[in-house]
Amino acid sequence: MTGSQLKQILADGAWRQNTGLVVLLGLCPLLAVTNTLINGLALGLATMLTLMVSNLSVSLLRGLLKPEIRIPAFVLIIASVVTVIELLMNAYFYDLFRALGIFIPLIVTNCAIIGRAEAFASRQSPLPSLIDGFATGLGFCITLVLLGALRELTGRGTLLAGADMLLGDGGQYLTLTIIPEHPGFLLAMLPPGAFFGLALLIAGRNAWQARSTSRSITTLVPDTNES
């Protein structure tokens, strides 16, 4: 695998084909758990791990899987991986497991995972598949963290609340109170806040994309004039 291929996979997964902001897959957990940054980060990491392991397993088995059993096999693999992650979280990150609740087992139903298995891992060798899982997961995780941060900041005036659930004792000192005496902005914490927040993030990404596209055009134009 060449460097440019690697770059391509990373850029596609994390930015150009960002699951949360461009492809818009896996919105159910994305909207549901992002009321704090830490919740978003935790689910993002769990999803990223699932994507990497499932992509790797699918890629290793790709020679054996006939088209007619491909989908059930993917479902089996993904469900096993998610259940393993669920058990491990229950054992080692108990508070976080309780905070995320049903959304850990529901990672199985995140279409982004079966989507990557089908569109990428079932046709590519193990290493690129693993990297694709990482890149897609990273893109999803960043979206969850940004949305979580946005909602936590506007809804509660803090950042990183509940960090002790992820990092153990001592984590609570990481919590930043950005806006002291914040009265609480209910809309941001409730589900509608998730939709508004996601819409803002998508709009922001589109604006960025449009600007960088028009900039690359304007830099092209003077170049041609000079030559």
């Binding site: 007619e68 096999a73 096993s80 259940t83 058990l87 108990y94």
Partner: protein
């Protein structure tokens, strides 16, 4: 004709193998984590119980000195009421009861109430609820001190009329924008105190439920 060469049979076997592999993996991880998960759950229960009863005030094992009963007519909820009994040298110290208030804004609110033998509230904590975030959730100790207003209360302090939120003429604060939630909690605590007064002998003398049930 060799059956195993048929594509459907081959696919079936392959799918079966993948399922077998997945099951083996899960069984392995489950065996590895099972004890630790039970341990974590116990630890959490103990932390919750010890938040309402002082650690030094009893010397029995709370988790095994436990009983359950249900009284749907009285508590207006079909689920069991769990009671952990705190004792010092076999003498009753306090009952820690987990009851359900059926009339929260969004359904059931599970509450842990510690009552000492004289009928005074040692502490109350909300264990689970689905009240509106930001409006009803000040019943959580993490969000406000409201739940501490039950400390040291009893059926005599305040008297009957006092066991209500201020809007209903009682002694307990309601929240801005939420009266139903605190009303449900106040009512559940009051009901539990009345039940405790009438049944406290039974609550302390009933034998503990079987040990295997303590795993749940």
């Amino acid at each position: 004709m060799n059956d195993t060469s048929h594509p459907v049979v081959r696919s079936g076997i392959l799918l079966g193998l993948i399922a077998l592999l997945g099951t083996a993996l899960l069984a392995g991880v489950n065996a590895l984590t099972h004890d630790r998960i039970l341990e974590q759950e116990k630890l959490r229960t103990m932390q919750q119980l010890n938040s309402v009863v002082a650690v030094g005030s009893y010397n029995n094992d709370l988790l095994t000195d436990k009983m359950e009963f249900s009284d749907e007519a009285y508590f207006r909820h079909p689920g069991p009421v769990t009671v952990y009994r705190a004792r010092m040298d076999d003498k009753p110290v306090a009952a820690l009861m987990i009851v359900t208030a059926p009339d929260g804004y969004n359904g059931d609110i599970r509450i842990l109430i510690a009552i000492d033998v004289s009928g005074t509230v040692l502490g109350v904590r909300v264990i689970s609820h689905r009240e509106t975030p930001g409006l009803g959730d000040p019943i959580e100790i993490e969000r406000s001190d409201w739940i501490l207003s039950f400390n040291d209360k009893s059926l005599l302090n305040p008297r009957d009329e006092g066991w209500a939120v201020k809007r209903d003429g009682g002694d307990f604060d309601q929240f801005t924008g939420a009266t139903i939630t605190p009303r449900a909690v106040v009512k559940a605590v009051h009901n539990t105190l009345i039940y405790f007064k009438a049944n406290n002998k039974v609550l302390f003398e009933t034998a503990s439920i079987l040990a295997e049930n303590n795993d749940r």
